[in-house]
């Protein structure tokens, strides 16, 4: 069992709440037609996205999936710049050229959210190769969804990472659906982690809605990869409450199923833990929630007030 300081628990709860409020706000903006294009929401997956990142050490790197807001917030990205990017503003992480699906902070080790399902696997191998080559002692945490593990890039990357003993942890958020397709229709294994056997690497399946499980497991996996033992595959079983994207009418699932998962909500679970263990007073818990909400309200304000990119920036940054 890994010791959790009060400071860390506070950060965990605050960031999970930030992630939830960020997407609630974004969803609201989308429904009001204030967001151009689409967003992929991860409400319900906060424990996996946020906690996996909180297990990282300074200098570790991440590659995010297309459903990456919670992951990015966990990694420490500035919600103001994230929201500005979602609104296509010049102040956003990508100067308005990437949007929700490409939020990146390369200098600080966030290699970007990826619009191609499975697109991050081999990029992560490359980033891990750099760490190994430069002997930085840093690890790459690669996020992907369940559907991505059916891409050829999954096989090529896990094989390569295993053969070369690359310091990378593949973290699969299994939210039960590849867009509309339920997992039982697109793979014939009980656990995605079973696939690790094909590469002779450790594979673990965990409750992705349990913040402690995620944090502890990723911490151990990072330690393993950092020690030069090679990659680890983690499957975090979780659920997304929203549809795949803006256009999703969710004809493929019964809302009762969503209600069942809402009872296992990762934020609620963490709150119960904090209450049961009397880590914080009720007042402190509420304060953290309020502060998280205020930070998102400020982010929306920042984004709305931010300028659009100048049209003449269109030709900038095609080449270095």
């Amino acid at each position: 069992m890994i010791e959790l300081s009060e400071e860390l628990l506070l950060r965990m709860y605050y960031k999970m709440n930030q992630a939830r409020y960020f997407e609630e706000k974004l969803d609201d903006l989308v429904s009001k037609g204030q967001v151009h294009g689409t967003v992929h929401l991860a409400m319900g997956q906060e424990a996996s996205g946020v906690m996996a990142c909180l297990a990282l050490e300074e200098g570790d790197l991440v590659s995010l999936s297309h459903r990456g807001h919670a992951q990015a917030i966990g990694f420490g990205l500035d919600v103001n710049l994230m929201m500005a990017e979602c609104l296509g503003k010049y102040t956003g992480y990508c100067k308005g050229k990437g949007g929700s699906m490409h939020i990146a902070d390369v200098e600080n080790g966030n290699l970007g959210a990826n619009g191609v399902v499975g697109g991050g696997f081999n990029l992560s191998c490359g980033a891990a190769l750099t760490q190994k080559y430069h002997q930085t002692g840093k690890v790459v945490l690669c996020f992907a969804g369940d559907g991505a593990t059916n891409e050829g890039s999954f096989h090529e990357s896990l094989n390569l990472a295993s053969v070369w003993k690359l310091p990378v942890v593949f973290f699969i958020e299994n939210n039960q659906y590849g867009m509309s397709n339920p997992i039982e229709n697109h793979m014939n294994v009980e656990n995605i982690s079973d696939r690790s056997e094909a590469y002779n690497i450790p594979g673990l399946t965990i409750d992705g809605n349990n913040f402690l499980d995620v944090y502890n497991t990723v911490t151990k996996a990072l330690r393993y990869a950092r020690a030069g033992k090679g990659p680890v595959l983690i499957e975090a079983k979780t659920y997304r409450y929203s549809g795949h994207s803006k256009s999703d009418k969710q004809v493929y699932r019964d809302q009762r199923e969503v209600q069942v998962w809402r009872k296992k909500d990762p934020l609620l679970k963490m709150k119960e833990y904090l209450r049961e263990n009397r880590v914080f007073t009720e007042k402190q818990i509420l304060k953290m929630e309020d502060e998280a909400m205020i930070s998102i309200e400020q982010a929306v304000e920042f984004a709305k007030k931010s300028p659009q990119p100048q049209l003449d920036t269109i030709l900038e940054d095609v080449y270095a």
């Binding site: 050229k97 970007g112 191609v116 081999n122």
Partner: protein
């Protein structure tokens, strides 16, 4: 450059020399691909590199082109300068997501945050009897992707100068090497700082009557045709774009203004080829008013490359296609 500073070597050796020099100069340059270590690469380009640089820098990969390209993109983004060998250009199909959707776009879609300094070596072209899946010239695909640079050397000196420039470039560069040129011999500068600027079209052979734009092995055929036509008093000017994308059009436009006649040629399939783009840019330019005859495009037939040697040869432009083309433009036929 004094010829004493140059030595004769093959195109294959010139590529290897360029890579070797860059690897000596910069420890962040690594080389990955299939069978490039002990085996020395399918075409012998990487022979001996493993002994000099070791397994840490000469990385034999599994047969996983997607992983080769994607790993290179990820490594390049985080500080290395990978050179990759894709055994045959045809297999780039298996690595296109990493190249087109990731490597080419990261800088732009992240608002200028990253750079992706990597080189993909792509042995291309027909003439080896390897049939349809090992003989293609797919450069036009790559020239359709902003963010990529595409270069194609035709001589040993160009091969050395461009591979070095490609490795030093901070963008993904597709380095197209024609397999039939590997044994071509030419003088190569020995200076380890000799590079050829990416994005410059050069005049290979000055002339005044007809402009030919060609690259790869097709360039050699154009030169042969030009030498033959010389005897008839026809002076053909030949331009070699060297960088196919983004292409330096100025010398081509200037040449067409001078000659009024243009032939563009490549081995790649004519439909949708780079030649068509050159033609379009010429007719969009002031050179249009100087054209005295319709432009001729020479290119591969719209067929997969066949195995049979005679069929294989007729699938791509030959010397006589240039000769007849020039006659037609000058109304000599």
């Amino acid at each position: 450059m004094k010829t004493s500073d140059m030595t004769k070597m093959t195109y294959r050796d010139a590529i290897r020399l360029g890579i070797t020099e860059e690897m000596r100069l910069d420890r962040d340059v690594i080389f990955l691909g299939e069978d490039i270590g002990l085996y020395g690469g399918a075409f012998g380009v990487s022979k001996g590199l493993l002994e000099e640089f070791g397994e840490e820098r000469i990385l034999d990969t599994p047969i996983s082109e997607g992983a080769i390209v994607g790993t290179a993109v990820g490594a390049a983004t985080t500080g290395l300068r990978p050179v990759c060998e894709i055994m045959f250009m045809d297999f780039i199909t298996l690595g296109l997501d990493a190249l087109v959707n990731q490597g080419a776009k990261m800088r732009y879609m992240f608002g200028g945050q990253s750079q992706v300094p990597m080189v993909l070596r792509l042995p291309a072209g027909s003439g080896t009897g390897a049939a349809a899946q090992h003989s293609q010239s797919l450069e036009a695909w790559l020239c359709h992707v902003p963010g990529l640079k595409v270069v194609s050397p035709s001589t040993p000196a160009q091969a050395k100068g461009l591979i070095k420039a490609a490795i030093r470039d901070n963008n993904p560069v597709c380095f197209i090497e024609h397999k039939m040129l590997y044994d071509a011999v030419g003088l190569v500068p020995l200076d380890d700082d000799y590079t050829l600027e990416i994005g410059k079209t050069i005049v290979e052979r000055p002339g005044k009557d007809v402009t030919i734009v060609a690259y790869g092995t097709t360039l050699a055929k154009a030169i042969e045709a030009a030498e033959f036509l010389d005897e008839e008093g026809i002076r053909v000017e030949i331009l070699n774009p060297l960088t196919l994308y983004p292409m330096d059009m100025k010398p081509i436009i200037e040449s067409v203004i001078k000659t009024g006649c243009l032939i563009v040629a490549h081995e790649a399939v004519k439909t949708g080829g780079v030649g068509g783009e050159i033609v379009a840019r010429v007719v969009e330019s002031e050179a249009f008013d100087y054209l005295t005859a319709p432009i001729i495009r020479l290119g591969g037939l719209d067929v997969p490359i066949p195995f049979n040697q005679e069929l294989e040869a007729v699938a791509v432009p030959q010397r006589n296609d240039f000769v007849h083309g020039v006659y037609r433009l000058l109304n000599r036929e």
